[in-house]
């Protein structure tokens, strides 16, 4: 505001010489006052807990420190709980004291933060205000600041990836320190066991086996079933919608199919487990087939339904993106619709169609809830779709749900599984992009 006014003042003095529009001066002042202040504020809020944690050590009685099972983290948690008023049982007196002192620090630090912030806001505001004169390019300065903000936010994407990779890779390394990777990759039995038993060294370690082949086989089986359902239905629907359907039909059916994509997977899982699986089982037994109540078939079928719209909608989009002029060319030469679609439009749209299928596959591979709920947890190595199988994702969920200790091989195995899963899906993603790129280069 001040900056705006000052600029206004300058305007009155000499309109022509002012470099930028007046409100840029205002925004500039605002930004250059607020940003440092925000920074200071964050530093304070993050630091104070750490500083306090150091300081509070003084208030921990020596005997506690010296005692055998002293764990600063636990003690700190106790103090923190006490600060927040959560009292479990009667804590030792020194904890309460420490908490009291902590509380007083919090108040002090809050006041301090406020004061420092105020000072920063004033100084930086003042400095920027000083900077305003007619030659100052406030617009350029504002733009630089805003662009930096935008740039920083795009780094988040990288950070996320790094975070994922770190979290997964590190834990995986720990896992492979416990279990040799060839056993993990090539073992055919998946049977993670209670860590308790392991730790106890009760001679039952042998029971615990981490061969991931059955999991991948299960994943593969279910994905294949899903694709068998979704590719023909999805592609044919896409072709029909984009080429044969009237615009009304299209406007009706396309969103209808997209509803399938919007349904949460847990709903599909529920549907698969409670409707499809029993139905398959009863109709199987009528045919004399023995179908497990949790079968790959049920999960695969439902997953297939789920990914229909990925194929149909995306393919429909890419088919539609094929320029009308190509169709005109086809019809102009006397093609039937069939010929136009199959020989001109589809080949032209092929990269997109392939990409949509691969996307669907990676969905299927990464899909969790349906398999958790409908495919079972039995790590069978089988190609029979009528039996129960388990998948990578469902194992990850089973292992990691609930409280777990990060030291056990079982918990860590989930990370190893996740790592392989990432590698597979990323591989497919890369491949899809590559295919698209290749076709594009060829035909553009």
């Amino acid at each position: 505001m001040l900056g705006y006014n000052r600029a206004k003042g300058l305007v009155n003095l000499n309109q022509k010489n002012l470099h930028s529009l007046t409100h840029y001066y205002g925004i500039f002042c605002l930004l250059s006052a607020l940003l440092p202040t925000l920074g200071v504020f964050f530093i304070f809020t993050i630091c104070d807990d750490l500083v306090f944690a150091e300081l509070v050590k003084e208030y921990i009685p020596n005997e506690v420190i010296n005692s055998k099972d002293y764990n600063f983290t636990i003690v700190l948690a106790q103090i923190n709980n006490s600060v927040e008023g959560l009292v479990f049982g009667t804590p030792p007196q020194w904890v309460t004291n420490a908490a009291e002192i902590w509380k007083s620090w919090v108040i002090k630090s809050n006041i301090l933060t406020m004061i420092v912030c105020a000072i920063t806001i004033l100084t930086s505001g003042f400095l920027s205000y000083k900077k305003i004169h007619s030659e100052f390019r406030s617009r350029n300065a504002v733009e630089k600041i805003v662009m930096t903000i935008l740039g920083v936010s795009s780094v988040i994407a990288i950070l996320t990836t790094i975070a994922i990779i770190f979290s997964v890779v590190f834990e995986s390394i720990r896992f492979f320190a416990l279990i040799p990777y060839d056993e993990f990759l090539f073992g055919t039995v998946w049977n993670p066991q209670f860590e308790g038993a392991e730790r106890a060294g009760s001679g039952q370690e042998g029971l615990s086996q981490y061969g991931a082949i059955p999991l991948f086989a299960g994943t593969f089986l279910i994905s294949i079933i899903a694709l068998c359902v979704s590719v023909p239905i999805g592609l044919l629907s896409a072709i029909y919608l984009s080429e044969y359907a009237s615009s009304k039909e299209r406007a009706f059916f396309k969103p209808l199919l997209e509803v399938l994509a919007g349904i949460p997977t847990v709903v599909y899982g529920f549907f698969a487990a409670l409707t499809v699986a029993p139905f398959l089982r009863s109709s199987g037994s009528m045919l004399g087939l023995d179908i497990a109540s949790e079968s790959a078939l049920a999960a695969g079928l439902v997953m297939g339904i789920m990914i229909i719209p990925f194929i149909s909608s995306l393919s429909d989009d890419v088919i539609n993106a094929v320029p009308q002029s190509l169709r005109d060319a086809g019809y102009g030469l006397g093609s039937t619709k069939n010929e136009t679609v199959m020989k001109i439009v589809l080949p032209a749209a092929l990269p997109g169609v392939v990409a949509s299928i691969i996307l669907a596959v990676s969905r299927a591979v990464g899909e969790t809830m349906i398999v958790v709920m409908a495919a079972g947890l039995a790590a069978n190595l089988t190609a029979n779709p009528l039996e129960a199988v388990t998948t990578v994702t469902s194992q990850i969920v089973t292992i990691l749900v609930g409280d777990q200790e990060f030291e056990s091989a079982k918990t860590l195995s989930a990370f190893a599984l996740a790592l392989t899963l990432i590698i597979i899906t990323l591989g497919m993603n890369f491949y899809a992009l590559h295919v698209v790129k290749k076709y594009r280069e060829q035909y553009e």
């Binding site: 990836t161 239905i233 409670l274």
Partner: protein
């Protein structure tokens, strides 16, 4: 020359001769297309049908109407309507007495059985009633209580009278009590007041989705607040500002890859980073929201970038040509024009987040939490996780409750999508 290119008359004849065959091929493809769409739509309808038929009864349950004597002494011994006082009160006994007066159980055993007919939440209900309306004290009022889930199942006919007593979950005595209640017209089938206002509970007749619903909203808010600004800012940066070089290329590949990472992995990351390293508490919407935000970020970025790219370059040229600066071009032209696309992408991302289950399982939002969360730091759960948990419970009634919760979730989703459509229509004054 004419040998090479067939002369027009011959060509015409050749074409005419083969036309029938080509036409029939054409109609075949059309038929296949229709069948495919029909199948897909059938699946959809069947899914909705099965969920709806299962879920519809889930909104209702059986109640028993009992005459309750609101005796202040017994209900609110301290007389200040405080929680402690009501806790010390003896409301359940009053209800039981009223019940006994109707079904007249004989002996301790029968009394014990009879007590179970009414759901265990009866005292809470009475406490709530008097809190809302203290004038009830001293009156004798008819009050409806939910029936136990087994009784409910029995009344719905899932538990058959014909089944031998030993294989039934309720014995003949209880059936007798119910018949008695029924004769007096005290049993009614009504819209359940637990499903929408209750929260997680081991007793299916008292389980509701309010907690999960609030949890979902909190989680989603966190997700939106993080993902939308970040996503849009990133998209703008990548499309409009960044020079096309190695770094932006890496960022781009990264984002595409993030979109392909299965959602469980985000859960794992949340678990490993937020909970294990930063030591944040489990089960809180804040962490859930952050995990979901990271998961939806690529969706938002990609759709925002598509929307930005769809802004015709000619508009940018026009603005630059007239002397607009980069930022002016972005904020005056690109973002307003891309907004519908960005919003649509965001809402789709949010819908995805809303339905997402697996990553939240990882970070412990699957815990059994009775309390309704008040803030993003209170432990809570979300609708899809609730559905997942209920789906696992053995009690018959939970199937209906689950389906009912699914209906609510779908309703939520549909309204979000409707919002997306509406927003897009409203903003899309593209002229």
């Amino acid at each position: 020359m004419n040998k090479k290119i067939i002369n027009p008359e011959d060509a015409t004849n050749i074409v005419k001769n083969s036309i029938l065959k080509r036409r029939s091929k054409d109609s075949r493809l059309k038929l296949f297309g229709r069948v495919a769409i029909g199948l897909a739509v059938c699946f959809l309808l069947f899914l909705f049908y099965s969920i709806f038929t299962k879920g519809y009864p889930g909104f209702f349950q059986y109640y028993v109407t009992l005459d309750i004597n609101f005796d202040r002494e017994r209900i609110d011994p301290k007389g200040d309507l405080s929680d402690n006082s009501l806790f010390d009160g003896d409301a359940s006994t009053i209800v039981n007495e009223s019940l006994f007066s109707v079904v007249e159980p004989k002996g301790r055993k029968e009394k014990k059985l009879a007590k179970k007919i009414v759901s265990s939440g009866k005292d809470v209900r009475i406490a709530k009633m008097v809190k809302d309306d203290p004038s009830l004290f001293g009156t004798v009022t008819q009050v409806k209580f939910a029936l136990d889930d087994d009784i409910d199942s029995f009344l719905r006919g899932y538990i058959k009278r014909e089944t031998p007593e030993s294989e039934r979950r309720i014995n003949d005595k209880v059936i007798g009590f119910i018949d008695k209640l029924n004769e007096e017209g005290r049993i009614s089938y009504e819209f359940s007041d637990y499903i929408l206002s209750g929260s997680a509970s081991g007793n299916p007749e008292m389980a509701g989705i309010k907690g999960a619903f609030i949890g979902s909203i909190l989680t989603l808010s966190v997700c939106l607040l993080i993902a939308f600004p970040l996503g849009v800012a990133t998209a703008v940066y990548l499309e409009e500002i960044a020079k096309k070089n190695r770094i932006t290329e890496i960022i781009e590949v990264n984002i595409n890859n993030l979109a392909a990472v299965p959602s469980v992995v985000f859960g794992i990351m949340g678990l490993a980073i937020f909970i294990s390293i930063f030591g944040m508490p489990r089960s809180i919407p804040l962490v859930g929201g952050m995990v979901l935000a990271l998961m939806t970020l690529p969706t938002i970025i990609i759709s925002s970038r598509a929307a930005i790219r769809a802004v015709p370059p000619s508009v940018r040229d026009a603005a630059y040509g007239i002397g607009a600066s980069k930022l002016q071009v972005i904020f005056h032209h690109v973002i307003p024009l891309a907004m519908p696309g960005m919003l649509t992408g965001t809402i789709i991302g949010m819908a995805q987040a809303l339905g997402e289950t697996a990553p939240l399982l990882m970070i412990g939002m699957v815990a059994f939490i009775v309390d309704i969360p008040n803030s993003v730091l209170d432990p809570g759960t979300v609708l899809p996780v609730q559905i997942f948990m209920w789906a696992d419970f053995a009690e018959r009634m939970f199937i209906q409750k689950t389906s009912a919760a699914i209906i609510v979730l779908l309703g939520f989703l549909i309204s979000m999508n409707a919002l997306a459509v509406y927003l897009r229509k409203k903003l899309e004054r593209r002229w």
